[in-house]
């Protein structure tokens, strides 16, 4: 009986301690992979809005070099002029989104392949 009580005590305690609230729940979870995001975005922009949703292929960091225009920092030679007040930058009106996580992308690819085979 003592052993049984001990077992139940441990079980209930662990259950309460670990599952009643998301202990230490960190927010390093990738929202990109949330199910349905891409279709939800497409629907929300499809009807009335003129704003576009687009998937990004690649992003290259930019530094503005004086008035000469925009240059990539990849070469390491671009400089921000720290002596003057930073000027406002322009951002696109397009809503840009990353592709789904690789595991979801692979599923999509597989479904496509199956559909093609069925057509033949």
């Amino acid at each position: 009986m003592k052993l049984l009580t001990s077992f139940f005590t441990t079980t209930i305690a662990l259950t309460l301690a670990l599952s009643s609230t998301p202990i230490y729940a960190q927010d390093s979870a990738q929202h990109t992979s949330k199910a349905g995001k891409h279709s939800a975005l497409a629907v929300s922009h499809g009807a009335a809005s003129s704003a576009k949703v687009a998937s990004a292929a690649v992003a290259v960091p930019l530094l503005v070099v004086g008035s000469a225009g925009v240059a990539s920092v990849a070469g390491g030679s671009a400089l921000i002029d720290s002596a003057t007040k930073p000027k406002p930058l322009t951002v696109t009106e397009v809503t840009i989104t990353a592709d789904p996580a690789p595991n979801q992308a692979m599923q999509t690819k597989r479904q496509t392949t199956i559909e093609i085979k069925q057509e033949h």
Binding site: A13, L18, T21, P22, A25, S28
Partner: protein
Amino acid sequence: MSRLLLLIALLGLASSSLVFAGSQAGRKAQFAPGEITGFAKKVEKYAAAQGARMFIIGRIGRPKKDLPKGIKFTHTAIAVYSAITLKDGSTVNGYAIHNLYQEAGKPDVSSLVVDYPVDFFWGVNELTAGIIIPTPDLQQRIIAAISSGKNKEVHNPAYSVIASPYNNELQNCTEHTLNIINASIYQTTDMQQLKANAKAHFKGQRIRSNPLKLMLGSIFMDDVATRDHQGKIVTTTFSTIGRYLEENDLVQHMAVFNRDGSSGELL
């Protein structure tokens, strides 16, 4: 039986007071897609209006009431003003966000992922952003560090939600951000040197927790570990990074940006 009830009560109390941060994988959007895209674009425009070539960005992934004292933001990353080439071949300017994320199905392992503001805010609990814009000189160094892949050199994929900023045994998103900042400041990716500098100059956030709960968490949860701590649990947070940069005169502007477009003080 009374001992059993007492134990249940104590552990139940403990469990409600020690939620560290944000959201878990698989969590659905809490807001309508249009609200999220609108807010994400407002955040971009706010940073762009300040002339930020890069900024440190924070989000709130869990209800405030569930967060321990001293924790305001639950995920931290670096947004870099970028030329973004779209799938149709066109190029537009906006912010790309460089993150450390836990891998799906492997919460104790992280990888580096670039996403965009709408992705970043998709599963948040509150449409509020933390924004820290470093001084132009530091901005330039951080952008150069990311462009040259130094962010990968200071990444340790062994993940713990309460990773210590003072050694490289385990790492979370905020510690990774701190590593990139310090690698940029000190122009080194030598982890021993970076951690010695963090010990000397960076003050992390003390996590006050029930020792029993910490012990149970480290035993039963893959992404909770205490082995990299000696004594008190101290970790990196968005706010402690802001304070660190402010104390060293390395902040151009920092704010909390709200859903209605208003902004307030971060610290």
